[in-house]
Symmetry: C2
Subunit: 279 residues, 2 copies
């Protein structure tokens, strides 16, 4: 498959109404996940997060049954039977609406499923780790929307547009108080003197499903992970820093701008702990 | 006309690609204006603002010629020759894109034109003024996006969804430092002891075209308007407060929550000064 395929509200069409509130106002949420050997990776956790994020902006998330039925419909449209690995993006919006910000009294949330090829990463990112640039773009503090993977992502777009040097894999985002929050497309964990830390996402940032998986793994193994305010100095003096998301899994951060970051091979260990399959 | 009509990239279709960055990330901007007797009200100012807003998020705005040509194409599709008054919404997005926040190296910005009926307001809002509720939702401080009418409007959606009582016309938005910024769908001017003030939009808020018209009118008439930090107390002790936008024009605010606001008939004067036609 080289073309992207869509399923919009159960139909294999390529068109969203311009009055859809997802388009008009970014009034919706999304998740991106991997399809491996025909199975949606971590679907229960992704669906649970879709429901939680929808709830935070007062959207009633469509049922898992409906989404999975529409996903099957989308997969059935792919002629190639060997096509069983892909990236699946699921977008839920408040649905169609009239002019104006007020949500309609009655609206049916829209489901948009997008199927695309797995990205091809250079194998070096798993073997050697990645470099991040520190973004000039800062994240605004908005506790009402913090943690939610909503469709208002202009900050991420501006931060990603800053990249001029291809040796950087992603950008590192801070808030206006110089706290490190996340990578543009992933979450961050820091290990220092045996303590595992991750930035608090109470004021801004996106709480990713892979972040949750890492938190759950450590909890299951009775190891504490502290959510707290972190600054750049914490990363420079760390024993190891990793970034995580549902597509690339876990990557070791070995450089920020021109500064080397200590490499304790934590990413490799975490990928093994989480049984992350490098495709 | 009772149905909404669209023109998307020059075609009279009702479908935006789910990969359009306006849908995926709210990566675009918009303006809403009135069509009166077949003419787009304040088009030069609207177009100038489209260009400026696009520039702030590094989108090259399509030419005025192209947008107007597509608007004519859209108008030509309306069978009713008496249909010459309407609301026109123009959305410009960064265009289609692959997966990921990074803007494509080459992309053609999308133009989306939406034609809909003029709203029917109760005449009372022009004669008696309007009541506003003070929103619990606060605006985040993000200087990089302040003033821009971009597609990341979840704050406005949440603020508007707060309304439970139909006697309120709109909500009043403050930032996290208790500064009054704007109405959910319009800008604010305050008159007190001969001084005309409007909230500064350097940290958040949308700089509307009607706000600019008011600023321009006072400038032309050698009267100062001060952009500054305002708080609720400034409105409660004002001689008059008005809200403005390109659809309803200028409205007197006579009440906030349960508190009466002094009415100096300023809105009526401003509508007359600006030659605003009540449709």
């Amino acid at each position: 498959m080289t073309t992207v395929r869509y399923c919009i509200n159960g139909k294999l069409v390529n068109g969203i109404a311009p009055t859809n509130r997802g388009f008009a106002y970014g009034d919706g949420i999304f998740r991106t996940m991997r399809l491996i050997n025909g199975a949606l990776q971590d679907w229960p956790l992704h669906y649970q997060t879709l429901v939680a994020d929808c709830g935070k902006i007062q959207i009633v998330c469509p049922s898992a049954e409906l989404i999975l039925q529409e996903f099957k419909h989308l997969m059935a449209s792919v002629e190639d039977p060997t096509f069983t690995s892909a990236i699946v993006k699921i977008i839920i919006t408040r649905g169609d609406g009239a002019r104006g910000y007020a949500p309609p009294a009655i609206c049916e949330p829209s489901r948009v499923l997008i199927l695309s090829d797995l990205p091809v990463y250079p194998p070096d990112i798993y073997r050697q780790g990645v470099a991040l640039y520190s973004c000039q773009t800062r994240l605004a503090a908005q506790p009402l929307l913090a943690g939610i993977k909503h469709l208002n992502r202009l900050e991420n777009v501006l931060a990603r547009a800053e990249q001029k040097d291809p040796r950087f894999f992603d950008g590192l985002l801070r808030d206006y108080d110089d706290h490190v929050i996340e990578a543009v497309s992933g979450n961050l964990f820091v290990c220092k003197a045996g303590e595992i830390m991750t930035p608090t996402l109470e004021r801004c940032g996106v709480a990713g499903v892979m972040r949750q998986k890492v938190l759950d793994w450590y909890k299951t193994h009775a190891q504490a992970v502290v959510s707290k305010d972190l600054v750049m100095g914490d990363l420079f003096t760390a024993d190891g820093v990793v970034i995580v998301n549902s597509v690339y899994g876990v990557l070791q951060v070995t450089q920020i701008d021109d500064q080397a970051i200590a490499n304790n091979d934590w990413a490799q260990q975490l990928r093994s702990d989480l049984a992350y399959v490098i495709h």
